[in-house]
Symmetry: C2
Subunit: 632 residues, 2 copies
C-alpha cells in the first residue's frame, strides 16, 4: 500500500511547529502618503512640521488685543476700530501680528465703519489655536507597525510627511498543480477540472495583506513541479502549492518539498483540511494545500494569516462568537477536530444553528455558511438542542434577521432569497434541502422559519394539511401558497425511451433516479406506483437518491440515469426533455407566530407582489394564481 | 451680525431628512470574476455548468463495479484484475465508464500484477462525487446585492461564470475649498493651510465602496465654486464640498448649494460636526463638510455610509460596544450630542476609559482614540467611575492589552509605545499628558497603568518618593527609573537674550512660556524662582501654559515667547538653542500589582534592554544609567 501521511498532529501543534521554523523577513518600501491607506508603517513617524503652523483663529470673528477689551461689560460696551484695534478673521486664518485673542462673530456687533462693539472682555489667547495645537514638529505621530487608517493619512500630511516607509507586501507565489486542471475560462471537457482554487487563494492572500503571483497550471510531473517550485521560492517570500498534497499516485507535493527543502508537517487531525503540508523551500515558507476547495481554504486560513500578521505586527483577526441552540444532531469522530459550516437564524427568542453539507468538496457549503462550529477532537458531536459556540462569518446583528428555510427545494425559494435582498427588507434567507417531510419536522422542532412542502394525500386528495394534522397535531401552523407547479418526467433530449406513464419506467426497465426519502416528489412517485399497481422493486434505480430537482436533471444529463421525476425548470437548466404529469401545490409552512411577525409579513407581501409573480411564471412550469394565499 | 445656521436639528433627524430626499440610482457593470473581490452582485447568479461535471472519484483508490465485490469479506477476499475489473483513480479523476464505485487505497492490497485484493464489499456509488454534487447547472449560486468574498469567486468560476455583473462604484467628487489651502506637499508659508482633508475623505469613501475624483483646490470665490460644484454634479453621483460650511465671511457653501440645488439641513446639534450641510445639486446628493478635520470626518461618517450601504444593499457597519468605567469626569452641554474620543485600557479587572482632547481641530485625538463615547443631548455628562457604553475603534481583545500612560510627557514614553509594538509584545500604549501630579492622581485612582513623574522635593532633595508619601500614603506603588534627562532653557537660535540664570528671565523681562500646573517642569521652575528669591508675578507670561515640552519649543519657534523650560530633544525638533540647567530623574510610577504582572514585566524588560537604551541616548539629553531600576 502507498505511504499515506507522515503525521497526524493537531492543528495547534502544526501551527506552532510551522511558526517556529519559518518567518517572513521584514522589508520596507517608501510610498506616497496619499497611497498608503491600509498599509503598515515600517518605522515610527515623527512630525516634521507643526499643525497649525501659525497661531490661528479658532472661530470666525475678530482678532483683538485682549488688554484693550478688559473693561468691556453689559453697561459699558467697548468699541474697537477696524485696523489697529480689530481685524476680521475666519476660522483657520492666521492671527495678524500684534493680536492675541479672537472674539466670536456672534459676540460682536459690527459697526457701520467696520469696527465692532463688545459687551464682554476677551482673555488673552481665547479662540486662538496655538502653533502645534494639533501636531508639534518632532512629536511621534504614529508608532511602527501601525495600519494606516484614513485619518492617519491626514495627520501624516499635516505633519509634513508626504512619503512614508511601509512594510512591503510579502509576495506569495501560487502554483496550481494537476494534469486534470484547466483554466477556469477554458471549455470543459470530460475529466477536466477548472482551476478556481488559485483565484480564491490569491483573493484570500490579498485580503490578508500579501501580494500574489499566480503561476500557470503545472501538470503532475515531478521535474516540472520542481522547476516551478524552485523558481517560486527564488521569486517569492511564500510558496503555495495547490493540490497533490494527499496520498494519490500523482500526489507529488510532499516529495517535491522534501526534495527542495524540508517538510515539517504532513497531515493534521482535522476535517476538512487534513492533507495539508507545511515546510520550507530555500528557507521560504512553503505550503502544500489540499485540492478539495473547503480543505484548501480552511488550511490556508489556519497557517497563512499567522505568518502575515506576525510580519505586519498586527494581532490575528478573531471572528465574533455566538452561542446558539443546535437544530439538528451532529456526530463527529473521536480524534478529529471537525469544522462544520452552519446556517444560523433567530427563532423563538434564541439563535438556532443547523449544520450544512460537510464534504470537503462542497464549496457551496462555504457560500451558504453563516458560521463555523468547531467540534473538538475529543468530542463525538452534539445533540439537538445543545448550546454550542459558533464563530460567525456574518455579524450577529445580521443573523438576527436571517430566515432559515427548510423543506422541499424549489427555485422559487432561491428567488425569494434574492428578492428579499433586492427589496431592501433587511432580511436574508438560508436554505436547507430537507424534503417536505424534513421541512415539517424542522418547523415542528423550531429549527426553521419556513418550509416548502408539497405533500399529496391520496386518501383525502388534499395537499399538505392532512400531513400536518398527522405529524404536528395541535400546533398552530400556517400554510401560505407559494405556487402550483408541474411535475413530470425528466428525460434525455427527444425522450428516446418514449417515457409517458409510470408503467413505462418499470416495463421498459429504464434506469431511474429517485428523490430522497421524505421528499414530496418521492411520495408522488410512490403514489404513482401504487396507482399503477407497481412495487419499488420493479424500478431499476429506485434506491439511488438525489436531493434536488436539479440533481435529478444532472444525473439524467450525465447519462447515469434515463429518467427521473421533477419540475420543468430543472429539465430546462440541462436542456433535457420534460414530460408533464400533473400539477401540484407547493406551500410555505410557518408557525403562527412567524406568520404574524414583521418578517413573516414581509415574506408574504413579497410572495403576493405582482413583480415577483411575473418573475416566477417567466421560468415556466409555475402558476402563481394563489401565491400568498392562506391555505389552512 | 451674520446669518449663522439655518437649522439645529438632531443627527438622526438630519439623517432621516437626507435619506428621504436623495438616493444613488443603481448602475451595474460587467467585470471578470477574478477581479470581482469585494464587489457587490447586481443580479442573482445562476450556475451555467455543474461542478463536478462528471462523476468523479472522491478518494484516491480504485474504480470498481460494486456488484463484483459483493462477496468480499475477511475470510474470502476478492481479487480484481487491473483493467476490466478495477482501475486506479485519484481524487477528482472522472470515474471510468462502466464503473460505479471507488475503493480507497487504504482498503486495497495491490497485487504484483496491478490488480487488487479487497476484504469488504463496495456499495454502489461509494466514494464517488456525482455530477453536480457541489454545484448544479441552473442553481442559484448567489443572490443579488451580495458582497463577493474569496470563495464566492470560486463557486462562480466553478459554475462557469467567468464574468459577473456588479454594482458600479458610485462616483464621489470631492471639492476642497478655501483661499488659504495649499496642496499637502507644497511648501508651507504663513497663513497657508495644507489640504489633508480631501485625502482623508477620499480614503474613507474608498473604504466605503465609492470611487473618488479629487478636484483641485477652489479658492473662496462664489463664481469659481459654482462652476466646480456644477461640474461635479454633472460628473459624479455624489458631491462633497469641504469647508466653507460654517458662518464666516467667506463660507459660501450653503449659498452655493442653495443656488445650484437645494439645502435640506444646515447645522446639526452635535459637537463636533455641527456645521454640516446636507442638500442636493442637480438631483445628486451634495454635502458641505466642515473644515475642521474631526468635524469633517464625523459628519462624513454619519451621512455618507447610509447612502452607500443602501446603494450596495449592505447593512450599515456597527462598531463593537463595550462598557467601561470612566477614569475622569466629563462635562457636556445640554442640547448638544457630544462625541468624545476616548483612550481605553484594562485595569484592575475592568475596562477604564479616559477622555482625549475634545477640540474639532485636534486630528491627533482621532489617531489616539481607542473608542468613542456619545453623550446624548439631554445629558450634562458623566462622573468619574460611572459606567459608560463605548463604540470601539479597536477590538476589545486588543484593548485588553492596551496600557494607559498618564503623567508627564516625554518622548521616551512615545518610543516605549513604538518599541512595545516592534518587539511583538502584543501590548500597545495610549498616552495622556497630565503632568507629573496628574499622573500620580491617575495611578492613585486607577485610571492608568503607568505615569511618568519627575518631581523634585526641595526639602529632602529627593525625587518623586516624598510626593507619593504625601499624596498616596499607604498605597503599594513602584517607581521604575526610565531615564535621567537634562532640563534647560529653550531659547531662539543663538540665545539672543543671553538667558542663563532664572534671574535673567525676570530682570530682562523676557516673554516666558510656562508649563501647566502640576507639571514637574513647572514645579522645577517654581523651585528655581524660590531659590532666586523671585515671585511668579515678576515673570512675563508666567500664566501662559503649554502641556508638553514640544509645545514650549513650538511657542518659542513661533516667536510668541522668548524662553521656556524644557528638554533638549524638544529644542532640537525646532532647531532652537538649549541652555542646560540641571539633570533630573524621570521615573515610571506603577502599582505594585502592575509591576508584577506580565505586562509590567514586559515593560520593565524593554526599558532595561540595551537596544532601547541606545535608541534613547541617541536623541541626546538623556542618561539611561539606571533605566529599569526600582527606585523605591
Amino acid at each position: 500500500m502507498q505511504k499515506i501521511y507522515l503525521d497526524n498532529v493537531t492543528r495547534s501543534k502544526a501551527r506552532q511547529i510551522f511558526l517556529s521554523r519559518v518567518q517572513l523577513p521584514r522589508r520596507s518600501e517608501k510610498i506616497g502618503t496619499a497611497e498608503a491607506l491600509g498599509r503598515v508603517t515600517a518605522a515610527p513617524l515623527f512630525a516634521r512640521l507643526s499643525m497649525p503652523g501659525d497661531h490661528a483663529a479658532a472661530m470666525d470673528g475678530f482678532a483683538v488685543q485682549a488688554e484693550r477689551t478688559f473693561t468691556a461689560n453689559d453697561r459699558h460696551p467697548v468699541q474697537l476700530k477696524q485696523g489697529e484695534e480689530c481685524l476680521p478673521v475666519d476660522t483657520g486664518e492666521p492671527l495678524p501680528p500684534g493680536f492675541d485673542a479672537v472674539i466670536k462673530v456672534e459676540e460682536s456687533l459690527v459697526l457701520p465703519d467696520g469696527g465692532i462693539e463688545i459687551l464682554a472682555p476677551a482673555t488673552p489667547w481665547q479662540h486662538v489655536r496655538s502653533v502645534g495645537e494639533d501636531i508639534v514638529a518632532g512629536e511621534l505621530i504614529l508608532p511602527a507597525l501601525h495600519r494606516l487608517r484614513p485619518h492617519d493619512l491626514g495627520v501624516l500630511l499635516a505633519g509634513g510627511i508626504t512619503a512614508v516607509a511601509v512594510l512591503a507586501k510579502p509576495k506569495a507565489v501560487i502554483i496550481p498543480t494537476g494534469t486534470e486542471l484547466i483554466p477556469p475560462e477554458a471549455k470543459r471537457r470530460r475529466g477536466a477540472v477548472p482551476d478556481f482554487n488559485s483565484t480564491v487563494i490569491a483573493a484570500y492572500l490579498q485580503e490578508w495583506g500579501a501580494a500574489t503571483v499566480l503561476y500557470p497550471i503545472v501538470p503532475d510531473d515531478l521535474v516540472r513541479l520542481e522547476e516551478a517550485a524552485s523558481r517560486a521560492a527564488a521569486e517569492g517570500d511564500l510558496v503555495i502549492i495547490i493540490a497533490g498534497s494527499s496520498a494519490g499516485r500523482s500526489d507529488y507535493t510532499v516529495h517535491l518539498i522534501e526534495a527542495l527543502g524540508e517538510v515539517f508537517v504532513h497531515g493534521v487531525s482535522t476535517r476538512p483540511g487534513k492533507p495539508v503540508i507545511l515546510g520550507q523551500i530555500a528557507g521560504k515558507p512553503a505550503l502544500g494545500i489540499p485540492g478539495y476547495p473547503v480543505s484548501a481554504y480552511f488550511s490556508l486560513e489556519w497557517f497563512v494569516p499567522p505568518l502575515l500578521c506576525r510580519y505586519l505586527g498586527q494581532s490575528e483577526p478573531h471572528r465574533e462568537k455566538l452561542k446558539a441552540s443546535l437544530g439538528r444532531r451532529i456526530v463527529s469522530d473521536i480524534g478529529i477536530e471537525e469544522h462544520v459550516r452552519m446556517a444560523v437564524g433567530h427563532l423563538d427568542g434564541r439563535f438556532v444553528a443547523n449544520p450544512l453539507e460537510r464534504g470537503a468538496g462542497i464549496t457551496m457549503s462555504l457560500v451558504r455558511a453563516d458560521a463555523l462550529l468547531i467540534i473538538p477532537a475529543e468530542s463525538v458531536g452534539f445533540e439537538r438542542g445543545e448550546t454550542v459556540e459558533l464563530e460567525l462569518y456574518r455579524p450577529s446583528g445580521e443573523l438576527r434577521h436571517n430566515l432559515l428555510a427548510a423543506g422541499s427545494h424549489d427555485l422559487i425559494v432561491d428567488l425569494l432569497a434574492t428578492a428579499l435582498k433586492e427589496e431592501g427588507t433587511g432580511l436574508t434567507l438560508s436554505s436547507a434541502h430537507l424534503g417536505s417531510m424534513g421541512g415539517i419536522g424542522a418547523i415542528g422542532s423550531g429549527q426553521a422559519h419556513l418550509a416548502g412542502v408539497h405533500l399529496f394525500d391520496p386518501e383525502s386528495g388534499e395537499y399538505n394539511t392532512p400531513y400536518l394534522e398527522r405529524l404536528l397535531p395541535g400546533k398552530r401552523l400556517r400554510l401560505v401558497n407559494l405556487a402550483y407547479r408541474v411535475q413530470g418526467w425528466i428525460v434525455p433530449p427527444g425522450n428516446p425511451d418514449g417515457v409517458g406513464k409510470v408503467t413505462d419506467i418499470a416495463v421498459k426497465k429504464i434506469d431511474y433516479i429517485n428523490r430522497q426519502k421524505g421528499a414530496g416528489t418521492r411520495i408522488l412517485f410512490d403514489h404513482l406506483l401504487e396507482q399503477a399497481g407497481l412495487k419499488p422493486s420493479q424500478i431499476c434505480g429506485y434506491d439511488r437518491e438525489e436531493h434536488t430537482h436539479l440533481g435529478i436533471a444532472a444525473a439524467v444529463a450525465a447519462g447515469t440515469a434515463r429518467a427521473g421525476l421533477g419540475i420543468l425548470p430543472a429539465a430546462r437548466a440541462f436542456a433535457l426533455d420534460f414530460v408533464p404529469l400533473c400539477e401540484e401545490r407547493y406551500d410555505l409552512l410557518m408557525s403562527d407566530s412567524f406568520y404574524h411577525s414583521g418578517a413573516g409579513k414581509a415574506v408574504r407581501k413579497l410572495i403576493g407582489d405582482p413583480a415577483f409573480r411575473k418573475r416566477v411564471e417567466a421560468m415556466g412550469g409555475y402558476s402563481m394564481r394563489d401565491a400568498g394565499k392562506l391555505m389552512n
